[in-house]
């Protein structure tokens, strides 16, 4: 049994989970680049759409909620939130990232079915590439947010910037985990993507993006408020508020209690648990992708 060209006998088709991703980083890069190129093909504005869409969304929400419904603090409305525009937008960009990442990764396996049916490659690449693409689209929105913050007198310290990174990581892990889970489930039941759409709609309103967390605390009471706080997206949004909105205010606004000592670790742990569960489910189901697609 001596041959020069060959290595060991291996079993084809058994993925190594996330370990494969490191080996296929070049392919991951190309998949992400493909998505970015294909996204705005044939459109005049191209990547500008990534600025225009959140911009319009922001104006609509700001006028409807901030002005009409009186969430913005003004002379006649002293109980409102100061710098509501920054408050709103810092939450919106994070929710947009989550929605896009989860929505696309949940569809990624079925959309790439032609490839998955014919050629073996680590299938985790597709959901992960979707999340990555969303992160790239998140960047221009972040730029807009920072410019807005600077106009509002933003002067963050190091800790606040780290809080933003933490919030982004929590939401990114959660989106990847759920994306793997729903992406795999979608192969078997196409209901999965509708479920995701519904979930995303709920997610927007189940975190203090449009409103203030104090309103929730006042209505829900301590037990339900704790459940509300345990939502990793809520933690992520509050961390973003702390990083972008809080440094633009006079510092009199209250941040949720125990945000860093309790809720940040909880949010991170929940996200990581979801990620591990998503990956395990994905590996259990991926063996039959080729025949079910």
């Amino acid at each position: 049994m001596t041959t020069t060209i060959s290595g060991e006998l291996t079993r084809p088709g058994l993925g190594g989970g996330f370990r494969d991703l490191r080996q296929s980083s070049f392919l991951l890069k190309l998949l992400v680049r493909k998505e970015l190129k294909v996204r705005y093909r044939g459109s005049v504005l191209g990547l500008l759409w990534s600025y225009v869409k959140p911009g319009v969304q922001f104006v609509v929400f700001y006028v409807a909620l901030g002005v009409f419904m009186g969430l913005e603090r003004s002379a006649r409305n002293p109980d409102g939130l100061s710098n509501y525009a920054v408050y709103l937008f810092s939450g919106i960009v994070l929710i947009n990232f989550f929605s896009e990442a989860l929505g696309n990764s949940a569809r990624s396996i079925v959309n790439n079915g032609n490839l998955i049916k014919k050629i073996y490659l680590p299938r985790e690449l597709f959901p992960v590439a979707s999340v990555w693409v969303s992160a790239v689209h998140f960047f221009p929105q972040l730029v807009v947010l920072v410019i807005g913050c600077l106009f509002a007198g933003w002067h963050p310290d190091m800790f606040q910037l780290l809080a933003a990174v933490g919030g982004f990581a929590i939401v990114g892990f959660l989106a990847t985990g759920l994306g793997l889970l729903f992406g795999a489930a979608n192969v078997y039941f196409r209901d999965s993507e509708n479920l995701v759409d519904m979930l995303l709609m709920v997610a927007t309103w189940a975190s203090p993006v449009m409103y203030s967390w104090t309103m929730v605390q006042a209505k829900l009471g301590p037990v339900f408020f704790a459940i509300y706080q345990a939502n990793p997206i809520t933690v992520g949004v509050e961390l973003f508020h702390y990083a972008f909105w809080y440094p633009t205010t006079d510092g009199s606004a209250a941040m949720p209690p125990n945000l860093f000592s309790l809720w940040l670790p909880i949010g991170l742990v929940i996200s990581l648990v979801v990620l591990v569960l998503g990956q395990l489910t994905f590996r259990r189901l991926e063996g039959r992708f080729a025949q079910e697609l």
Partner: protein, 241 residues
């Protein structure tokens, strides 16, 4: 010689489900599981196949005999229900050329994307890029989006990427029937060259004359069973009768 592919007692059962919605599945459960929500059939029954390094094997059989399913097990796209599949070295498939192509990307981008999908590294693609373009005869159109390619050009580029991946085991599924005569001859010459270099080839094709020129060994499948395994000429004769 060492074996390149070891398929032992592989069985595969397909479930033909009629529904893709949870609602119908729930209704079926509530109604006391009346009727069949799914139908099963055996695509492969206890198939064993040993291929030595450097062998050229043709999988023959009528439509639905399990040839492509077997090939998908060797490439790892499908996992067996029972039995085991082992391969040695890198396996690459020319399984439906162009599966990894995106119509809105240029030929150049597609070469990189498809090359990476077939397992090439960035360095390998950079080195072989010129050879790939030259073999494909695409020339100046390499920077055009592939949706504007003729089907022949599309095929030539895809084939060219695949033959330049340089795997140890080469799986070819029904792709030689397309392309014009001169290019087809070029492809066959390339495949024969690979075989002479000691690469292992597994070919699925309905073109019996073609496979008898390329392959030395024929495996005849029928309804998921191996009916015959031996010299290609005998396998072709059996299939023709």
């Amino acid at each position: 010689m060492a074996s390149a592919i070891e398929v032992s007692n592989v069985s595969k059962e397909f479930v033909l489900r009629h529904t893709r919605s949870i609602k119908e599945a729930v209704v079926w459960l509530v109604k006391g599981r009346k009727g069949d929500l799914s139908k099963k059939f055996h695509a492969l029954k206890d198939v064993s196949l040993m291929v030595e390094t450097g062998e050229t094997v043709a999988l023959l059989g009528l439509n639905g005999s399990g040839k492509s399913t077997l090939l998908k097990h060797i490439s790892g796209v499908m996992l067996p229900d029972s039995g085991s599949v082992y391969t040695r070295g890198r396996v690459a498939g020319l399984i439906e050329v162009g599966a990894g192509f995106h119509p809105d990307l240029s030929g150049r981008d597609n070469v990189y994307l498809n090359g990476a999908i077939l397992g090439m590294t960035e360095k390998q693609i950079n080195e072989r890029f010129d050879a790939i373009v030259e073999f494909s005869e695409i020339g100046e159109f390499i920077d055009t989006e592939v949706k504007f390619y003729s089907s022949g050009m599309y095929l030539r580029l895809a084939f060219s990427v695949a033959v330049h991946t340089d795997p140890e085991v080469f799986l070819i599924d029904e792709i030689l029937a397309v392309g014009d005569e001169p290019f087809q001859r070029k492809c066959i010459a390339k495949i024969q060259e690979l075989a002479e270099k000691g690469k292992t080839l597994v070919v699925v094709s309905h073109d019996l004359d073609l496979v008898s020129r390329i392959c030395a060994r024929g495996v005849l499948l029928e309804h998921g069973n191996v009916m015959f395994d031996g010299p290609i000429s005998e396998a072709v004769t059996r299939l023709r009768n």
